[in-house]
Symmetry: C2
Subunit: 186 residues, 2 copies
């Protein structure tokens, strides 16, 4: 063999992730994370939520910058549409989680990605949130995610890549399994 | 009585919501919504997701403008922190949903809100997403939301307001109950 192959680079630092796994194996208490956000009501159905600090690796952490998100309902619900809807934020979280996973797993498996796009759709019968029919759930009845991936790999390897990302995805787990949510007034 | 009371105004158009309920009662097929987002991988764990169109009330709808969201992992995971994490987007969706509900229910109940803030925290053991321990789930083990509300109402009425918002919340339902999620490659 005289040809030298270009190393696969999807921008994911696999060595650091493997190092983290080793470090957390020795100190599992550092794996306890607390993610946070703080919300301020603006007017009508419009609120602004900020994300900055979190807890992990045994200490307080901060994002590189503070992220702010406007949440609102659309004009067809007689709102001002000052931001995406709450349920769209959930879709953003799911597709972002799966896509980060695709890049990380591709790096582990030495698959060079060229382009990854995905569409996500969530079905909802709004008679649930309007309180019109107690047999209709408030949330999504189904979610579909469809990937279109251009990579140096067979169709079979690409399908396996997406399946592995799904298996390790935090948000996929959050949506497909129940979580204990406590809502209180201080 | 000679005093005139100032009408309660939280910026929520209750008449329109009640009108929608009546219209959807007569034409339940119009209550079928499809919420959507489209994601493009950038580099590493960073992706950008856009939200603009959706389907509802029997036809294609559009937000007033296109919303774009950067999703990434933080620097302590050897990523570039170009956006909030996927799980933080889920928290943004939940607290935004509950807060919109607080405003809407307050308007229905003629409670004037002055200030509504909330903090939200999600616990996660990252050994799940790192694939270190199959007994640890990938998602949140628990979520806590705490409201601080200044309103023309008793503590009891404020607690009832938050409880009713929780009961009708789409994202609360999504997080506390399982949803069928299909992930495919086109």
């Amino acid at each position: 063999m005289t040809a030298t192959s270009t190393p696969v680079d999807n921008g994911v630092n696999v060595e650091a992730l493997l190092g983290a796994r080793e470090a957390l194996g020795a100190a599992p208490e550092a794996a306890t994370f607390e993610w946070r956000a703080s919300c301020e009501w603006q007017h009508g159905t419009h609120s602004t939520t900020k994300v900055e600090g979190f807890f992990g690796l045994g200490e307080e952490q901060r994002h590189r910058t503070r992220y702010a998100f406007d949440v609102d309902h659309p004009e067809i619900f007689a709102s001002e549409d000052n931001g995406a809807t709450p349920v769209e934020y959930v879709l953003v979280g799911l597709v972002g989680c799966l896509t980060a996973g695709v890049a990380a797993v591709a790096q582990m498996r030495e698959i060079q990605l060229r382009r990854v796009t995905a569409t996500i759709e969530g079905d909802m019968d709004v008679r649930g949130i309007l309180g019109m029919d107690t047999d209709v759930r408030n949330g999504f009845s189904a979610i579909r995610v469809t990937y279109d991936i251009d990579a140096d790999a067979s169709d079979e390897d690409i399908r396996a890549l997406v399946a592995q990302s799904q298996k390790r995805s935090a948000v996929y787990d959050i949506l497909t399994n129940p979580t204990d949510v406590r809502v209180e007034v201080s």
